[in-house]
Symmetry: C2
């Protein structure tokens, strides 16, 4: 199993220098997030994840979750680790102090989430889902609902879920069948069956608070007739503690390719008592308010697993002796050279490094926008942040998970045959990562959201909000003595991006299928350009530090070399995506469905 060490140096480079969290926190009035506090959080978070969560990662995968007549038991050590996590204050880090949280900015919560995900993605699902439920209740619950649930959830005494999917629908929530019938006491009787419910049943908390999408008897058809309900596993009693068992039970858990220690449940609601949260028929809207955060979290799984894989691969590539360098022996005293001398091994490692560090920068960039959207006092700045978030969120989710899957596959490949063997831990990272492009809205759906709803739906406004930033950045750095050619490369792509979008938009006005035909390639194309922008920002800081004799010279040289690699070897992938976009929909749509397989 690769040993996980939180990449604190890179995190600090971004926090302190590239994005300067400190100035933004001061401006947003997040005074608790002082540099000292941030430092302590990084150090202690790293220790917890490295020492408590990482050692449970492979054992959790091997053991998996157990199901016995409705009772789900998590792998050895999981429950205890959750208790330590709560006790260490990690669970309530970014939660509302009114309910026992520490009230630190979301961005800091995400920094810790990365460490959690890298050390143990399966385990991270349990607090992750709880955070989602907390956000929903916080945003849409009544005062009474908040009082009843938020303190318990923040304290980790209770945990939460999100119950959306049913066997016949995942993407298409408009056709859910779960029904909620109003009762005399103002509650609802919820009946139906939900599948793929992460953390739907387990032994880590005293109670589980399900947030359930269901339809009222008189609901309009489709997505405009969906309401959201709080359905606790145990109904809170008069003292606010877990009381009577509610009519919800776990029918089974899934046997999956990966994240095996995360319990994925079938939940049967059999006239369970539920409480409406938010307005009737506005359930999907309630869900969407926390979607940015949840999708960024899922996108981060690509980064998390990619980072873990990279750490394993670099170590192996330095240790494993095999063949001599093409330019002659580099370790003549040994039977062979370490495989990191081989250009193709370096190609894989640098691809991993470039995606991981680029995706981390994308995460932090987006996290800062989340902070502005949550904490900003200026309405215009908040709206601008919201617009950028709307644009970036599907890209974060899909680009980071697709590239994360590529990264974990490279990491496995670096190990050769040993990569395929479970005990080395590299193949688990691929399996754990493989769900990320699927859940929380498939990457295909993210791409439709980006191109159809966000970019074309805003007549290009949301795209221009970003290309304007890149344009200004390129103008300010044009002709840079060391990095000027990359500035020019980025600037040209940034311009092409707008033109290509226009082209697709024109075609889509005549034929809506053009959107779906271009969407995934458009999303990836956009992701590569965005990472180019972020890599250049990092490179400029590294170059400036080197010249000023500040910072860590070796680290800065690594940044510059990786940036160059990105511009020369990864960014040109935009050409293939562009060609695919320009190919249009006809070659996808002309073949009748019946003729696909003959």
């Amino acid at each position: 199993m690769p040993e996980y060490k939180a990449p604190l140096r890179d995190m600090r480079f971004l926090i302190d220098h590239v994005f300067d969290f400190h100035t933004q926190y001061a401006a947003l009035g997040a005074h608790d997030a002082s540099p000292d506090m941030i430092n302590a959080i990084l150090e202690e978070g790293a220790k917890f994840c490295e020492n408590v969560l990482a050692p449970l990662n492979r054992s959790g995968d091997e053991e998996g979750c157990h199901f016995d007549n409705g009772v789900v038991t998590t792998p050895a050590g999981f429950k205890d680790a959750f208790a330590q996590y709560v006790e260490g204050g990690w669970h309530g880090l970014a939660a509302d102090p009114a309910y026992g949280g520490q009230g630190l900015p979301s961005s800091l919560g995400l920094v810790i989430s990365e460490m959690v995900g890298s050390s143990n993605t399966s385990w991270g699902m349990y607090p992750g889902l709880t955070h989602g439920a907390m956000s929903a209740i916080h945003a849409h619950g009544t005062a009474e609902q908040k009082d009843t649930y938020l303190s318990k959830l923040t304290a980790g005494q209770w945990t939460g879920t999100m119950c959306l999917t049913e066997a016949h629908c995942g993407t298409d929530l408009g056709i859910i069948k779960t029904r909620a019938v109003p009762q005399a006491d103002g509650s609802y009787a919820v009946t139906g069956s939900k599948i793929f419910i992460s953390a739907g049943e387990h032994d880590m908390s005293d109670n589980i608070i399900h947030l359930v999408l269901a339809k009222l008897p008189d609901a309009p058809a489709g997505t405009k007739g969906i309401s959201l309900f709080i359905v606790p596993k145990f109904l809170p009693d008069a003292a606010g503690e877990a009381g009577e068992r509610n009519g919800v039970s776990c029918g089974s858990i899934e046997h999956k390719m990966g994240i095996k220690a995360s319990a994925t449940c079938v939940l049967n609601f059999d006239g369970a008592k539920g409480f409406l949260i938010g307005e009737p028929n506005k359930g999907l809207n309630c869900m969407f308010t926390m979607m940015n955060h949840a999708r960024l979290g899922t996108g981060m799984q690509g980064l998390c697993l990619g980072e873990a894989s990279f750490q394993g691969a670099v170590k192996y590539a330095n240790d494993r002796l095999q063949m001599r360098a093409l330019t002659g022996a580099k370790a003549p005293d040994k039977p062979a050279d370490p495989i990191i001398v081989h250009p193709d091994v370096r190609r894989m490692l640098l691809t991993m490094k470039a995606f991981n560090e680029g995706n981390r920068a994308l995460t932090y960039f987006t996290a800062q926008l989340l902070d502005v959207a949550h904490l900003g006092s200026d309405a215009e700045a908040r709206q601008e942040a919201e617009d950028l978030l709307a644009f970036l969120t599907p890209i974060c989710k899909a680009f980071m998970t697709d590239t994360g899957l590529e990264v974990t596959n490279h990491g496995m490949q670096v190990f050769g045959g040993h990569g395929f063997i479970r005990e080395w831990g590299m193949e688990q990272l691929v399996r754990d990562c493989r769900i990320a492009p699927i859940y929380e809205g498939t990457n295909g759906i993210q791409a439709l959201d980006l191109l159809g709803r966000k970019v074309l739906g805003s007549q290009g406004k949301l795209l221009r909000g970003f290309t304007r930033i890149v344009h200004k950045f390129c103008a300010a750095n044009a002709g840079h003595p060391q990095l000027g050619s990359f500035v020019a490369q980025l600037n040209e792509l940034n311009q092409q991006w707008g033109e290509l979008t226009m082209q697709v938009g024109m075609a889509a006005m005549k034929n809506p299928d053009e959107v779906g035909a271009a969407s995934v390639d458009y999303l990836m194309y956009s992701g590569y350009i965005i990472l180019g922008y972020l890599w250049l920002r990092m490179a400029l800081v590294a170059q400036a530090q080197l010249e000023a004799g500040e910072g860590d010279g070796d680290f800065c040289r690594g940044k510059l070399a990786t940036s160059e690699f990105y511009f020369k070897r990864l960014l040109p992938r935009t050409a293939a995506h562009r060609a695919a976009i320009e190919a249009g929909s006809e070659c996808l749509m002309k073949l009748p469905a019946a003729l696909f397989a003959l």
Copy 2:
């Protein structure tokens, strides 16, 4: 589990029309391979694979192999299926009639191998390894060795293995530690430990014949000091039957990501009696003589698993109802449209279809060359086939497995969340496929073999042998009324291919690292062009059949649509690979190894 149906229509299209196996068989004197015989083989092979092997695929994955104190038991049904396979004559299909085989051409054996691999890749490893051992003994064994082993192996009474890898070396066989000490009776005492030995121990045959690479006491260092030995599990007795147990034992089996029903063994040789095969110190050469066949077989695993995944995905995409088409409801009587209406689902399906059918064409094209190399009477034609095989083999292995992995991942993605669940069978195909880019020489090694040894090592001669074919083909079809634009696109790429190779060759003369820096992208770039050529050959036949009112019109229209998709949406990926090749080695090599992870 996707239900497997052998793609007989596509196979016949290639055999009868695109590559015309019949004329070639007649020319090679392979008169037993009559059209009637081929037809019977296709029909019966399909039945066996669909009805006997496919039903054991998922159960084999779930059960895996059992290890108990040196004894390995294969999953339920495996042993019986092997008996049926042997009884049906499949095992000896392409084997030498002198030892009980049917003597049919290799190309027909490969057609059946595809069906076997699609229905049950793990199971296919057992006969597959045996075929490899048979080839080695046939090519390099003494008359006595052939008499002793080949009939038993052909009859499936005994099976075989190839023992190359050791814990400290896989790629770098020059540093193996296994030793063979000459004994007074002319045999050798073989001592050492081999890992990753597929079919190294199991319960499917009476005896296992290991072909083992080891070093003689006076052997020169490196790959020029390796010899090959036959080490039977049970030593043949005077009657030629399995007699005394030899000093080889299975220490453990590996727990792997996939192909779990294939026993991957640690084999300990403890002074085991071995018999030299071939000349001393020429063991690697003996291995290489069968490498073309073995590597094509491994490449085919990408095709096999891709085909199985495609069959599952097309069915699901036609059955699964989710969302409405972007252009309005297509199945208004149903709650939603089948997902095959969505352009992005079609993009995934067509990508799968284009790679599978393209890879099948590449397999058949290469299989015909194998036939000429084995059976051709004209020395010049044989040499030409050998040269093309040398060039194409690494591409078949690496391109087909990398694209096969992409295909199986698309198939899983089409299933959404269900793709991640084991019972649906789609994730197993990804896991089973993931080993193919690693074993039988990693894809990185294939790429070095292609660019370094084959293309540049022949001063471009081996490349020109292929580009000349493409050039003639493009010249003959230039200005084709329907397909002329694709002919032009291919012709341009074919020319660019030569120029790019020259460019890399010039750079490599100054710096050998340029080879390793370009190799993987060069291989993929080459693969895309080769598939372009083959897709165009198929399209021309389909177009001609349509115009003549021959063949199956629907099938031909499917070919043409997929061909168009390939040219418009997949072939442009060459642009990204070309840019990566042109980026050169500097951006890979400049970062000191110690600075990769900080």
